[in-house]
Each structure stands twice: as structure tokens, then as C-alpha cells.
Subunit: 232 residues, 2 copies
DNA sequence: GCAAAAGTGTTTGGATTACACCCATGC
DNA sequence: GCATGGGTGTAATCCAAACACTTTTGC
């Protein structure tokens, strides 16, 4: 019963990836949106996506799309959900898989290319109507990001290389929509290996905060040797 | 650059679902495997999967596959990861998405149908070599199950309708490979709404345990009104 | 000095842990 | 009675929340 339809008849799908690129700026988590310069949804805002080449694996395709847009390489990509409503793409059966990347906004310079007229960072909580089912994709992918933020040290992929503890706190406060006590937050992150750079914030009109850096190698060591568990 | 290849050329993929069906029996989490009665991988063990019909959404396809095999309906299905290595299927580019279901083993009676010669429940930690990349799929899906077991009351989908607290404890112990203190486990699950049926276990050669039932409606009420958070 | 945010210490109550003990059943 | 697991209580400890206080900078 399952294979009653000739196998070859099934080769009539297309498969795409859509990238949710997260960044953090001014206390808010943003995503990168593009204004489409082609049909369908010409002129509307969307997240960057592209069809997967027939001989390309998903991870490579996601990197290709990300690199075309942001010119950044070696960014870790995380797979999100897959969306397969038969009518989600007006031009045929296109199943799409979400990938999400976390970037340091100040490190990259996204550029609109041939099929994008404009690019823009938008705070995740202030996104308007997007093309296709991209609003759904962004929402569920943000939920997945939140789960990961609680169990993996990926907040440091969003924060600048050198960050203040308050910036880190703001990231969690924004993501989970809550306010935290400064003193308690610092106690909570005590086990996470951070390097105090003993450098100060500049251009602030108050006491400058210390800058910190995530100690990646110490973290890996802790995970391996003392089976340390990141938990927020 | 992205759309430089004619759009239609991309319609040469196939898309399938593979189902990881979890059950719990004799203190172990099992998955349902089938012995393939067709090529490729004829005679080898695999997890049940099937191609998605061109006009069928993923959730429906997963239900169809599950129902064909287990005759159970109205089971909640959870999407897992998507696997897209170009060479993962010997007959062409078949991208597959994992879905997982949690069933009460004693409630169902899986039957081998036309394309399966045999079906078998196998403990998740004792699975041999499976067809395709199904070992990878099973492993990563089990990891996802574990994440969900910690944040959602889905253990009750695996446990029998009436269960003992010790069975519940064994489920977590098996999943996370640890031993828990009985008294402390019971304190931990105190906030979870369970109905003590005041019925006793039978056919045991020791003091019979009380049987419990998950109080679904109370749970939903708690979540809504007191924003209760399930956490294990 | 004042505003603003950095940074730290103390107290309290609730949760987690380790461990001990009693109970009910089959044989 | 004894083996086996069911079921509960207690004390010690750890952790999180609430809150107060001091410090350092710009203006």
C-alpha cells in the first residue's frame, strides 16, 4: 500500500532551506530580513532562503546561503524544524528546513545581492508580516533558540567578543521576557568559565563595566573532565 | 546567483518520513523496528518510513505511516530532525524527516504489512545495525526525546494508563542512565498532578504498589492558571 | 554633589540530598 | 520468618530570591 505509487513519481518535490540569522544589539535579539527582489512575494520582507542543490548536503547549503548574504564563514549552524504544508510555496511542492545561525552583529556586514533589494536587522519582537510562512518559521525557531540558550553556551555567539556581564544578563532578560536581579545573575553564572579582561567599557556616562570573554577552551575541558553542565 | 539554475530542475527530489516509535516495557525504552520485505536493504532491520505523497502534509503522512503499522490513531507525533545527505538513499536524492511517537506498548498490536516481513520491539540501548542511516536517526531522535522528557509530561504517553511510581522512576532512570533515590523522586514529582487510584498492583511477590494515573485536565488547568512548569 | 550603573555581601526560605526506618505481600 | 520492594520522615546541605549597600565614572 505504501509503495503503490511508482517510486519515480515521487521525484517531483523541491527542497529549500530558510535561514534565521540571529544577532544581538542594543539589548534586543534581532533577525536578519531581506526585501525580495523577485517573484513570488516581490518587494516583501522575508528571511533568506534558497533551494538546495541536488548534490549538496543541508549543512553545506545553509553555509552557502549564509556566506552569500553575510560574508561570514565558519559560523555554527543549527538545524531547526522542517515545514511541509503542500501549499506553502505558490510555485510547487517545496518543503523547507529552517537553519539558524548566531552572529555577532558588529562583525558582519550583510549585503543585499541579486535577489534581495535590501537587508535589515529587526528585533525579533517587532517583526511585521513576512513572505511565505516565514513568520511561523521565525517564531518556532526562536523557541528552539530559547531552549538552546538554556542548555548550551551559545549566548556568546551572539554577544560581542568582549562583553559586559550586564549585556549577557540583558540577552537572557530579552529572550525570556523577565527581569533578573543583578547580584543573583552573577552568582548564577559563576560556574561558567569567563575571562575577566580587566578592560573597561568606554563612552559610558557612568562607572564603566569590566569586559569579559568566554573561555572556550576551559569550557571544553570542564565538560570533558568534570562533566560540567551548562544550565541557565 | 541563487536562482541561476532553472527552478524546475530542482523538482527532482523525493521526500520521506521515518518514524521512531517509542514504547516502554520491562523498565526499558524500546523502539519499533521492521524487517524490510523489499529492496533496498531487503531483509534488514529498519524503522518504518515512507514517502510523502505530493499533496500530503508531513503531520498527516506521519499519522498515516503510524496507523498502517500500529493501528493506533490519535497519537501525538513530534517532529525530529531532517536528514539530507545526498547519498543517504541508494535510489536517488531522498531527504527524510524523522517523526517520533510515544505509545503504550500494551495498547497496540503492530502488524507487519506488505513491505515489512516482521516487526519487533527492541530496547533502545540494544539496537543492532539498521538500514540506511537509521542508526543515526534513532540516536539523535532519542536525544530529542530525552530533552522533551525533561520539560513536558510525555512520560505518561509511554507508561501504561495505570502505572506505579516506581515504573515512572524506572523510565527516567533508563532514559538518563542514572539511579535515583526513591524517596527523593517522590518528593520531586509532588507538584505533578497524579491521581492515586487506590488500586493495587497484582501478581507481584512483594507488597503491591499503588496505581496512579496522570491528571491531564488538572495539568492543563495548572499550566493555564498558575503557569506551572513541568520540570524533571 | 548628583545621577547612573557597576559590583558585592547578607539573610532567608525552599528545594535537594543522603539515609534511616517501617509496612505489606508471597513463599 | 524472611526476602522483596513499597512507602515515608528527618536532618544537613545547597541554592535562589530579596534586598541593601558600596564603588566609580560623567557631568
Amino acid at each position: 500500500m505504501s509503495y503503490k505509487i511508482k517510486f519515480d513519481n515521487f521525484f517531483s518535490y523541491s527542497f529549500s532551506l530558510d535561514c534565521v540569522i540571529f544577532g544581538f544589539r542594543e539589548g534586543k535579539i534581532h533577525i536578519l530580513t531581506i526585501k525580495r527582489a523577485m517573484e513570488p512575494f516581490l518587494g516583501e520582507w522575508a528571511i533568506p532562503g534558497d533551494l538546495v542543490y541536488p548534490d549538496e548536503n543541508l549543512q553545506d547549503a545553509a553555509h552557502r546561503i549564509l556566506t552569500e548574504l553575510t560574508k561570514v564563514e565558519n559560523i555554527e549552524l543549527h538545524q531547526g524544524q522542517t515545514y511541509g504544508e503542500p501549499k506553502r510555496h505558490p510555485q510547487g511542492r517545496v518543503i523547507t528546513c529552517a537553519y539558524f545561525a548566531l552572529v555577532k552583529i558588529e562583525d558582519i556586514n550583510p549585503e543585499a545581492d541579486s535577489w534581495a533589494e535590501e537587508v535589515q536587522w529587526v528585533p525579533i519582537k517587532e517583526i511585521g508580516k513576512l513572505a511565505f510562512d516565514h513568520n511561523l518559521i521565525v517564531e518556532t525557531t526562536f523557541e528552539q533558540l530559547k531552549v538552546k540558550l538554556q542548555r548550551d553556551p551559545i549566548c556568546f555567539d551572539l554577544l560581542p567578543e568582549k562583553f559586559t556581564l550586564n549585556e549577557m544578563q540583558q540577552l537572557y532578560e530579552y529572550a525570556f521576557d523577565l527581569e533578573m536581579d543583578k547580584a543573583n545573575f552573577r552568582k548564577k553564572i559563576k560556574p561558567i568559565p569567563l575571562i575577566n579582561l580587566h578592560e573597561k567599557q568606554t563612552n559610558v556616562k557612568h562607572r564603566p563595566a569590566n569586559l569579559f570573554k568566554f573561555d572556550q577552551s576551559k569550557y571544553l575541558e570542564l565538560v570533558q573532565e568534570e562533566n560540567f553542565l551548562f544550565k541557565m
